[in-house]
Amino acid sequence: MTAHMKHDQPDERNVLDHMAQGIIGKSLDRPEGLLKVSGTATYAAEYVIDGCLEGVIVTSTCARGKVTSIDKQSVMSMPGVVDVINEPRMIARPAQGTANEAPEHKVGEIHYWGQPVALVVAETIEQARDAAKNLVIEYAPALAEFNPEDVVPEPQPDGTNEGDLNQAMEGADQCVDLTFTTEGHASAAMEPHAAIAQWDGKMLTVHASLQMLNYNIAELADALKLKQSQIRLISRYVGGGFGSKLGISEEVVAASVAAMVLDRPVRVVMSRQQVFQTIMRRSETRQRVRLSAKADGTFTGIGHEAVVSNLPGEEFAEPVTQSTDFLYAGDNRIMQIAVARIHRMTAGSVRAPGEAVGMPALEAAIDELAEKLGIDPIELRLRNLPDKHPVEGTPYSSRKLAECLTQGAKSFGWKKGKRTPRSRREGEWWIGTGVASAARVHNVGEAKARVTLRDDGTALVETDMTDIGTGTYAILGQIAGEMLGLNPDAVDVQLGDTKHPRGPGSGGSWGAASIGSAVFLACEAIRKELAGRAKVKAEKLTLKDGQIGTGKFSLPLTELIGGKSISVIGHYEPGAVEKNFVASGYGAFFAEVAVNHWTGETRVRRMTGAFGFGRVLNAKTARSQCIGGMVWCIGSALTEALHFDPNDGHLVNCDLAEYHVPVHRDIPDLDVIMVEERDPVASLIQAKGIGELGMCGGAGAIANAIYNACGARMHAFPMTPDKVLSAMPD
């Protein structure tokens, strides 16, 4: 049985609020948490498979050109070497998120330094690594541009141009016209990209670390020219994805090809360096932000224009202006993105593509405008919240931005009034505060999940949806448990296996809302079936702790099931509400920083994030997502940057010692406020996406706090000590 719904109308019933179990939203532990912290959760590369060979990817040492020869004989006699594979089925770039087909670029044509060109397969990983380093490859290199500043960027077709921004700027009482830069970012997930492929002549089974199996199976089938029914993908646990595992990447296809060619299981694990050099980066950006305002702070214009980069042939362009589009008022608007075609590795989705770098620039510009206007920066934002989409006129589905700004300010202890830099010093340290708004568009995807109420009174949830560390196992147990009157430990959630119904995949923060809606639909149908069996209306049903109540009688659920388990596939489909409403998560960041007068070192002393993202499904995992996002804010504000060699375009800082994500000592206590909200448009469970919102703007709050602390106004992220020192007044 299938329970299908297309989301054409807002669902204001808030069904989950009227259930009896009382577990939805509760701060519950993840069911798989103990396995993870005790090292007993099995990740993709950790399956023990007899006779498994080890493959090591060989990557190019030039940024553009052709492979003219690969001398297999240079390594075939080395101990343990089984084969060198460089056939056309292999892929040279990762697939973009939701591509649903294999990348077309092949391993013989080089488009970036570090591109896979071959796979060396040997009996042990050490042998394979050694042979990979010794493989003699000849290239015919071609000239390549590496620096986005050196090429003329191509404007994207879908910009916004309303009114006359230039005129608005000229006629403004105050305006700012600023250019910000952000550097490239890496996802830097803890678990490197890895796959083990097994081929039995008919069926390919691949353990991989992937975020969206529903798309990945199509991508892999396309690469290998197999039918999807010949492939089983398994990703039960994913040690962080952050966008880098949205599409299939090179190791999945390489392991599969090798297993099929050699008729033996093959494992391919990327080295840490390869993960940095070969997997998606977030593009660096150059952003021009223009704001014009009347003396009372009313915006008359907003301009946000960004240059980003990608390889030739890639459609993805970091959507920098995505939330600027609808966040603030102003009749005269320009939003435009242009892409510089350069030969660095593929640019793609890294956590919160667009807002992660666009919001900090916008929010830092607003801080400068507030200073010029002499208006408190929170007040300035509050004065410019439109009551509908500023261009399209569509209503907001729900928006708690004002509440986030005011509740966050109260909790943080924000002092209204004139803000003068360098007004607080403790020893060598300048102390300052800053604020920024958060926004991240809300997305949903088509999703299916099977829920079975078994005759022993427990429930089973099955979908190929993944849990990339976000808490999917926990929240699906809570949704099913709430709807069916079961404790979460009576709900067995099985994820990350394409033998189950297709979920939406984890990406774009849409996972919980989409798959949660599918599980919800299945459970609603089960409740209906139970009501039928009990001969009452579904609304009269009370399910709690494995007991069923009808208002007239109460009995154990197992009695009503009576050996006839109920199995329903919930099928959620996004619908008309998507275009009839603007749906987004909102929030506000508050940061207090200390900047060293002598060295320019900046440390975040405390940070508050207040967020409104619809219904909270699990307060603990939701809070963890927010904290994770805020940690990323600190990284992107202060340290994270990919550095590319200007001569040959290779990525130089390609490990976790030299690509500086924040460490524990960089992270103070982070205060997270979740503003209660129900969003009838966002999903059938009134929840919006959470995973990315927590990093959409916070780097701007930190930049604003640095200025407030020491008077250094910077427009280049990350704000490392060298930049702080050169911008700091004497």
Binding site: T61, P79, E126, R129, D130, K133, S271, Q273, E428, H597, W598, T599, G600, E601, R603, L638, T639, H643, F644, D645, P646, N647, H650, V652, N653, A657, E658, H660, P662, V663, H664, R665, D666, P718, T720, P721, D722, L725, S726
Partner: protein, 325 residues
């Protein structure tokens, strides 16, 4: 990783004999060497494991302390005598790496720690230190972490460590043992070398020669500081660092022993600073003059130009803190 032979040595004599052979590397904690072997930056044919040698003690000796080369960084940093008499050393060690790495890393190995230069650690790039004659990728490449003093046009890599910087300020001595039990003492300040035309040689060790111990001189007191500037507050190599032992008596500077990290191929000591400072009344103009002397002759290649004002300011800040002005 290349195949290699593994040999254990339980005496210094046996270890030096084995290490004298071509292609042999000594291993203690392995926190640096094993990473480099995986990258095939280091490709020893044989590893000689020193861990069976019974010399990880920290012992008092006439006027000072002797630290066995196999003592872990953690053991040194938590030793009560070192914490009270040589706090600059404890502070420097604790400023480096992570607890897990410090537990494993040895004193001798830490002195031999190799550079973090991005071109040294990538075997597909030119590097005169790794592959003499191949060129220097950093000179025209990404050089944020590179040297502003003591470099040559063949190599601008820095010595990245913290511990040795404090040892240089303390003027500690390194005890070396070579073939046929030949021992010698070298000042930590003279142990590492500037690249000149031979950047492949990080230090003055002869073939087979091993660090056996580090000798700390008698405690000198004073205010001892280690200030390390970095982008993040842990697990990051210094942008620059200053080890300072400063004593003020009757209003005048009686001692000013200074060493600097991550700005040169070796822990950088400039005696002119000591000569300038000692005997003077601490004041800002004096410190600025000292800082000017330090960076007199410093040169960046673009990316690392910021280190010149940075180390200048860091020195001034350290002297202010040490003299409480």
């Amino acid at each position: 990783m290349k195949n290699f032979e593994y040999a254990g040595a339980d005496t210094v004599e046996r270890a030096t004999m084995l290490c004298a052979e071509n292609g042999t590397k000594a291993i203690a904690g392995g926190t640096n060497l094993i990473d480099l072997m995986k990258l095939q930056v280091e490709t020893p044919a044989r590893l000689v494991d020193l861990n069976s040698i019974d010399d990880r003690r920290i012992e008092e000796e006439e006027g000072g302390l002797r630290i066995g080369a196999l003592a872990s960084n953690t053991a040194v940093a938590v030793d009560q005598r070192i914490r009270s008499d040589y706090p600059v050393l404890a502070k420097a060690i604790l400023a480096g790496a992570t607890q897990q790495l410090r537990n494993k890393a040895s004193v001798g190995g830490n002195l031999g720690q190799r550079t973090r230069c991005f071109y040294f650690t990538n075997i597909d790039q030119p590097c005169n230190k790794r592959d003499p004659g191949s060129g220097c990728g950093a000179l025209t490449g990404v050089a944020r972490i590179h040297a502003i003093l003591g470099a040559s046009r063949h190599c601008i890599a820095t010595y990245p460590g913290d511990m040795a910087v404090a040892m240089a300020a303390l003027d500690a001595q390194v005890e070396l043992s070579g073939l046929a039990n030949k021992s010698r003492m070298v000042a930590v300040r003279d142990f590492h070398r500037c690249p000149g035309y031979t950047p492949e040689l990080d230090n003055i060790l002869e073939p087979g020669e091993l660090v056996v111990a580090v000798h700390l001189p008698a405690p000198v007191g004073g205010t001892q500081l280690y200030r390390k500037v970095r982008e993040r507050s842990s697990y990051a190599f210094a942008l620059c660092s200053v080890a300072a032992i400063v004593d003020v008596k009757r209003g005048k500077i009686a001692r000013a022993d200074l060493a600097f990290g991550s700005i040169a191929p070796k822990p950088w000591v400039d005696q002119r600073l000591t000569q300038l400072l000692v005997g003077e009344k601490p004041n800002m103009a004096l410190f600025e003059k000292a800082a000017d002397i330090l960076v007199d002759g410093a040169r960046g290649v673009g990316d690392n130009d910021y280190k010149i004002p940075l180390v200048r300011r860091t020195l001034i800040a350290t002297l202010c803190e040490a003299t409480e002005i």
